[in-house]
Amino acid sequence: MNARGRHVLQHAVMLLLAAFFLFPLAYMLVSSFKSDSAVLSGSDSFEAFVPTPWVGGENYSDAMERASFLRVFFNSVLISVCIVGLGLVVNSLLGYALARMRFAGRRFIVTMVIALIIIPFEALAVPLLFMSAEVGILDTYQVQILPFIANPLFVYLFYTFFLNVPVSLEEAARIDGAGPVRTFVSVVAPLARPAYATMAILGFLFSWGQLLWPVMVTRGVEVRPLPLGIGTFMTTPPVQWGDIMAYAAMMTLPLLVIFLLFQRYFVRGVASSGVKG
């Protein structure tokens, strides 16, 4: 096959793959503008991708009302922003200390951090639930934030990132009389922007979609995050698919926007950090 033919073939294959990845999302968007009955009845043909009968924003306003959307949306934003914001500081400081500073127990801590990466959170969920109940912080924001700030995977990400950064700039800063804190804030942190961007995106992905832990530690809608809201639609009949799709779209859109805005940094960050192994 000549080069041109190969290109056409590759485009065809890649477009098919794009269709595979996109059709559920397109289906969600289209269905979110249809009447509830039309979502089901029209789902067995190409009509699935035609938004008729068009009901405008009706499903969206329904979904917002039924699932106290504004409340759970606010909860999700607050929880994720706290986890990621505090996590950026805590994990990068620890990663930096382990990569650059000499202190007793450093090697042991590095080994421990790597060992902690393979402990799935789920294996800790039950004792953590018990401990939270004992301390009396069930049904709060804290119980959904505190356990996830420090993350061994992100500590390791910063650790390997800093190992690969030449020390010369930091030494120059130290000769100029800057202390460790000054050096970190004005020299090290700006250099580590790709690592911060990677952690921010991954951290946001993890925390925004969390389901297991909130199911275990929250009861009422007051502090519950978005993903749990979808359960309200599935369990309280009648199942209104238009509303569900509208809710799913509203849950997904903020992440899509964040990703599209920052994706360049993200790919570069993965490339320059230890995540790729």
Partner: protein, 299 residues
Amino acid sequence: MSASRVRRHGSAAAWLFSAPGLALLGLFMVAPFLAAAYFSLTNQRLISPLPTRLVGLENYAAVLGSGSFWNSLGNNVTFVVIVVPLQTVFALWLAILVNSDIRGRVVYRTLYFLPVVTVIAAAAVIWTLLYNPRGLINAVMETVTFGAFAPDWLNSTTWALPAIIVVSVWQGVGFQMIILLAALQDVPDQLYEAAQIDGAGTWQQFLNVTLPGIRNGLIFVVTVTTILAFRLFDQVWIMPQTPGGPLDATRTLMLEMVETGFGQQQIGRASAIAVIFFLIVLAVTVVQRRFIREEGEVS
């Protein structure tokens, strides 16, 4: 300032930098882990009037003696054995495609990654509707197979797990693709040029240059995918009509643990499941690492 004071100063800064992270990791990972090990030897319940007492290995005996546990483990193993190779090979193929010099590769890369950005709860609900017996997937199936194959996916003990596997791969493969893409871009061009001069074809270049070049990336992807696959919970909780259904065909260890510890409030027994789960994941990770490393050393 004397040398020893400089060192003490540096060491104080090191502890200042490390303290928040270490404290949080200790409190929310190490402590619960030790607590799980302890609880698994007791009859601890979430809320109970009875005093807690040590019961030895009773919980482990109860867990290992229950059919439900082995059924869940079986489902987990099936899921891992299918998803890990499938997703890794698929991700590598996607990474190679978007790493070629074709026009629009950044757009393709972004599109392939979008499911990763979709909240799993939302994805599970969308796919539940797609898998509806009279839904879109069966419409396609009926057309392709002339009506011969159109199961009620999520209500079939045979097809529920494969259906969930498709959703998991759809949702997760883009992440692995990005990691492998980064690894591919690190392979020096000179190696390919040298191979071409030696007369190596595309396939030989792939085997002798690409694969060894991205070995670390592949190891990372296989390890992480395995751990994530063992943790399967969200999909089997949302998608079937009852969590883990039909007839426990999609029940996983995580679901078993959550229902024991949370639903039935048996903290002791759920902790035993957690410890067993951790040991399984640890064993698989260690074996995998050793196996892959030895293979690498042979070549």
